[in-house]
């Protein structure tokens, strides 16, 4: 069996190497720098964790902590860090492997090919498992291991502690992967694998985003005092986790004991860890393997697709507006007034309705759209808390205008997603529009509408909420709404023009939609556009007020300038980009380049 596993791993290695080998030189250099950066980061972690622990070992700091009433608990907590890190390695193994195993076992499409080859089935399964484990081992090697090595250096642990750190962490990742494989089978039994991958992508994206923004949210609660008793209570709660009765604490306890030279205790816990980890891994592996090959996980339960509630065709045909026109049943369901719908030509309306459905139904798109909403919630909480602070009257305009700045920034995040990805959203289905008799103008009209409506609605909604919370006058709120609408209109045109220029129809993951030079350059210009618009709509009225001119001049001038910037900065690029639409999706450029290269 092992030669087969090696063969399969060699295949993976070859695929990985080819994916690097065939990249442009710039990307290869970038990857090499990233690899070097990771090594430097690991070394930095060793030094920083050693330094932090040395710092807390300082008698003066310990005295201060004792006076604060948390000295003993904190000291114990730091000593017991291996328990926390080994638990973390297990959790990473359990959850991070889930996505990789789901992809490898159900979505990669090579399982049938491999299983029909004359290889032991177990070797195929094991190679998939190893394939899932390797990236997580790398993660552990870059984060947890350096931190624990730093801890060992600070605590003068015995030499055997260091290799044991690597062994124990690796074993925990492997155990996590074994349990994860069973979890995958259970989930796939209930949910379609593709749907599970979509949900996982959403959850992963949200978690990463919330983590990245948690600092901001925490910042808004910076004035909240955390009593020493509560801190001590939290540390004590951790202490109850780190008991010998908890199997999840055994790996860490073993590491600490061996590090401190308590050989008997250390060997006991480490032996228990090894036995339980390897035993559980063997059981989960056998169990998961059986479930997979018996087809148990492929026979889904309780997932019969619910019929969408649609009115019978005859009924919708009888209604004014019918089905296949701008005033379709779909339009009515979407809640759009028939009068508004009639503005759009039928093909443009068809594209709008279709895009709205695709954005709504593909959960992967939702993950991109939900980020601005989370930001809005975080910033609204910040505003609510700031609202209690008294500001000098001269600063009122800045205070009130900051919500316009935030509104513009959030609208930009929406617009960038819809604008850059507007045309690429068509993906491999671009042929449907390309072979249809839709006018480029109608297509631009549809994509522009899809780009502008969500951010405009969201931005205006945010401004209204912020105005209520801050007590902004109706006049100023109206100004902000008009200003935001003008900026969004220009930005939508600008991003859409880059969306046309950099349209790609070969993506499989929505995150790849706006990558590339167009996406990068477009992002820089979008940020610049919003910066300039912010400067005009916020800065100009402020400047006018400072020089004691009538306020109306400031607002009027800002709106005039804003319209000019939007027309030139958005309208002109879109006009030129729209001329490219008839050529979009033709493989000529890429294929001819490839062929020319080969012939040279």
């Amino acid at each position: 069996m092992f030669p087969s596993i090696l063969k399969l791993l060699r295949l993976r290695l070859r695929l990985w190497w080819n994916s690097i080998k065939h990249r442009p030189l710039g990307q290869k250099i970038g990857l090499a720098i990233a690899g070097l950066g990771m090594l430097v980061f690991a070394a930095f972690l060793v030094i920083i964790s050693w330094g932090i622990l040395q710092f807390f070992s300082n008698p003066r700091i310990q005295r201060e902590l004792q006076q604060a009433g948390v000295g003993d608990q904190l000291g114990a907590l730091l000593t017991q860090l291996p328990i926390l890190f080994s638990f973390g390695a297990f959790v990473v193994g359990l959850f991070a492997n889930f996505g990789v195993l789901l992809q490898g076992l159900y979505l990669s499409g090579d399982m049938e090919f491999l299983l029909t080859a004359p290889l032991p089935a177990r070797s195929v399964f094991l190679s998939k498992l190893i394939q899932a484990i390797l990236p997580n081992l790398l993660l552990i090697g870059l984060v947890s291991a350096p931190a624990l090595i730093g801890l060992g250096l600070a605590q003068d642990y015995t030499l055997i502690y260091y290799p044991l750190v690597v062994i124990i962490l690796s074993l925990l990742v492997i155990l996590g992967a074994g349990l994860s494989s069973v979890l995958v089978m259970l989930v796939v039994r209930i949910v379609n694998p593709r749907r599970a991958a979509e949900v996982l992508g959403l959850v992963g994206g949200l978690t990463a985003f919330i983590c990245s923004q948690s600092g901001q949210l925490a910042g808004s609660f910076r004035n909240v005092d955390l009593p020493a008793e509560q801190l001590a209570g939290a540390v004590n709660a951790y202490g109850t986790f780190a008991t010998p009765w908890n199997p999840l604490a055994w790996p860490g306890l073993g590491l600490i004991a061996i590090g401190q030279g308590n050989w008997l205790t250390g060997l006991g816990f480490t032996g228990l860890t090894l036995a339980v980890t390897l035993g559980l891994f063997a059981i989960t592996l056998t169990f998961a393997e059986r479930m997979y090959f018996s087809g148990w996980s492929r026979v889904q339960i309780g997932t019969k697709a619910k019929k969408r509630k649609t009115r019978p065709a005859r009924e919708s045909a009888r209604e004014p507006g019918g089905v296949a026109s701008p005033t379709t049943g779909a339009a009515t369901r979407a809640g759009v007034g028939a009068g508004l719908v009639r503005i759009f030509p039928a093909p443009a309306w068809a594209v709008i309705v279709k895009d709205a459905r695709l954005y709504r139904r593909d959960i992967r798109n939702l993950s991109n759209l939900i980020f601005p909403i989370i930001l809005a919630v975080i910033w609204t909480i910040s505003i609510f808390r700031e609202g209690s602070n008294e500001l000098p009257p001269t600063m009122n305009i800045v205070f009130a205008s900051s919500s316009l700045g935030i509104g513009l920034f959030m609208a930009m995040m929406f617009v960038m997603r819809f604008g850059f990805g507007g045309f690429s959203l068509e993906g491999k289905q671009w042929w449907i529009l390309k072979t249809s008799p839709i006018r480029p103008f109608h297509l631009v009209l549809a994509k522009y509408t899809v780009t502008i409506i969500p951010p405009a609605l969201f931005g205006v909604g945010y401004l209204i909420v912020a105005a209520i919370l801050r007590g902004v006058t109706i006049g100023l709120l109206l100004y902000q709404i008009v200003a935001e609408s003008i900026a969004v209109a220009g930005l939508a045109a600008l991003t859409l023009s880059f969306g046309i220029w950099g349209a790609r129809f070969d993506w499989t993951n929505p995150n790849e939609i706006s990558s590339g030079v167009a996406g990068c350059l477009g992002s820089i210009l979008a940020f610049s556009f919003i910066g300039i618009s912010g400067g005009i709509f916020i800065g100009l009225p402020l400047l006018i007020q400072l020089v004691k001119w009538p306020v109306g001049i400031g607002y009027g001038g800002a709106l005039f300038l804003g319209i000019l910037v939007s027309a030139v900065g958005g309208g002109v690029p879109l006009f030129f980009a729209a001329r490219r639409i008839p050529q979009l999706g033709e493989e000529e450029s890429t294929q001819s380049k490839k062929v020319s290269k080969k012939t040279k």
Binding site: A305, K307, R308, T310, D362, K428, Q583, V595, S596
Partner: protein, 262 residues
Amino acid sequence: MYTLTMSLPLLEIASINKTYGANHAVKDLNLTVPRGEIFGLLGPNGAGKTTTFKIIVGLLQPTSGQVKIGGYDVQTQPLEAKKLLGFVPDTPLLYEKLTAMEFLQFVADLYGVDRDRATRRATELLRLFGLESNTDDLIDSFSHGMKQKTALAGALIHDPALLILDEPTVGLDPKSARLIKDILRQLTDRGVTIILSTHILEIAERMCDRIGIIAQGELIAIGTMDELRAGGGDGLDSRSLEDIFLQLTGGAEYAEIAEVLG
């Protein structure tokens, strides 16, 4: 509004070339297909069939040459030409998050089909293709064959004058394949022109009025079955399309290889 001049051939291809660097995907291809004809384009893998189809439907611009559908130039009058056209590619990549009915309504809107007619046609076509119970299911839950049938329904919803089908029977069960063959025959009876490519030579032999054989981007033979048989110059009127195809495309040597391997 477009008008279809009855006296003109529905499809006229004049000296189209498509080159990628030094590689000729399509070389000086000329073809005229009249109304109501089923024309089969055959050729080995990589011969240029799909590239030719992509040029006809406007997915690719030819390096040189002209394609006219119903008298309209695909390059200079694309909207008029495309209104006459229905296309089903070899891989039916459809919007997976739309239901079958929503997809057909969407396509009908793109082609400006009257609202009542679109509803009626969509319902009819879905029933015809045995998809009436899947009307409101998302396309991502469909099998390859169901997607193929949905794509064909989409191509037919606006009553095209010219139907281009790239490998229409691939992935279909015998019943569905037979259904599609019957539908195509009925369509030609109503004056629809069909151009299809297939590797199943029996389908081409039995269904097509004329057959073109393309190899290395060049149309090396064209005509009815009788004309193709006569073109061999060996007086063998009983030759099958397979024999003719292998003789013309140089595939006869593979039989020898198979013999050696056997």
